[in-house]
Assembly symmetry: C2
Homo-oligomer: 209 residues x 2
């Protein structure tokens, strides 16, 4: 019996909406996102197979809600970083938060950044909350570049930083560095080294005093 | 009927070894790596379900051979880069080759860097060919840093560059940038921008003349 099943035989409507999200995450963890279906979610919850349709017109709508909550939790985690007067140090703190979320929540992380999105036009709330997470990075960079609104330059640097942190999180998560004759110490120290290298690259873009 | 099935009813032994790899790739493409089995491979080839065991003692041995060939093809592709007198420009050419392989061969790329490895001690040829691919990067960096053998410093920079390129390849492959209100032009130009940023970060590590 799955974790969510035992209390859900006669769920009030609002609880069913949340319970579907929990059951969907269980289903994805067990069988992968491509096997997610409203029928399986209903089965896990012990409700009629029509019941989830009250809240989710389709499997993609449920997946969009699962993904949206990942982005929301991710943003909350990013916002909890140490604040710092020095915008460069605050960016580093943001990088550490990014990495700690990715390594502690591999399923959520994969759902955000390695899962084909359901048709986005139909899920404006997902788009909004994903953009909100990205804005955390853009705003930190706007502060470094001393501009009020993110511009194309900020976007470029945001994509550079995101690529680097995403690659680092993915490689550390997949364990493949350990097959490549790299010392444990180097692997352990690589996050801080990479944050320094990002800082150096950004520095090179700054106008000279 | 699968592509490999039609000619494989009575394969000579050496052909069966290769045919198993092709059938395994088809199986992985269709059902994911977690559903790979020697039985399914035999079924796809129309041979007895004992036949693949002649070459692969287990499903993991076959997977290791599939992955090894990915690394070998990847290295061959990397070696085809434009050579350049300027080691910095040669590193950029290597970055472009990396990205073009990743985007043109998403299944192979995922098998190399996003798939849990079979127990590596039992597959020394996989370890060797994976290290060989990584050495392409390490050797290009050793040239930039003017050292004969890759050292800890080279390894750190190699992991920085690999993280950045891996993240870029993964984000471009997953299409998630398109949901974030970033212009097509910025997305299109981001690979060259990121190669420049990598170069700037490396430059900052060089001793001043």
């Amino acid at each position: 019996m799955s974790r969510t099943q035992k209390n859900s035989a006669l769920l009030p409507s609002i609880d069913l909406k949340d319970a579907c999200v929990d059951a969907a995450r269980e289903s994805i963890a067990a069988h992968g996102v491509e096997h997610l279906s409203l029928r399986d979610v209903a089965r896990r919850l012990g409700v009629s197979h029509q019941a989830p349709y009250r809240h989710y017109p389709s499997r993609d709508h449920l997946l969009a809600e699962v993904m949206r909550r990942c982005f929301r939790n991710f943003t909350i985690h990013l916002e909890k970083r140490e604040s710092n007067q020095d915008p460069q140090k605050e960016l580093e703190a943001l990088g550490r938060q990014y990495l700690s979320f990715a390594l502690a929540n591999p399923l959520e992380y994969r759902l955000m950044f390695s899962t084909p999105w359901p048709q986005s036009a139909e899920h404006p709330e997902l788009v909004r909350d994903a953009a909100h997470a990205f804005d955390t990075l853009r705003n930190a960079l706007a502060r470094i570049h001393n501009v009020t609104l993110p511009n194309a330059f900020v976007n470029q640097n945001a994509l550079f930083i995101w690529s680097t942190m995403h690659g680092l999180a993915s490689l550390l998560g997949s364990n493949c560095m350990h097959h490549l004759n790299i010392s444990d110490q180097t692997v352990q120290e690589i996050p801080e080294y990479i944050l320094t290298m990002i800082g150096q690259a950004l520095q090179s873009q700054m106008p000279m005093d």
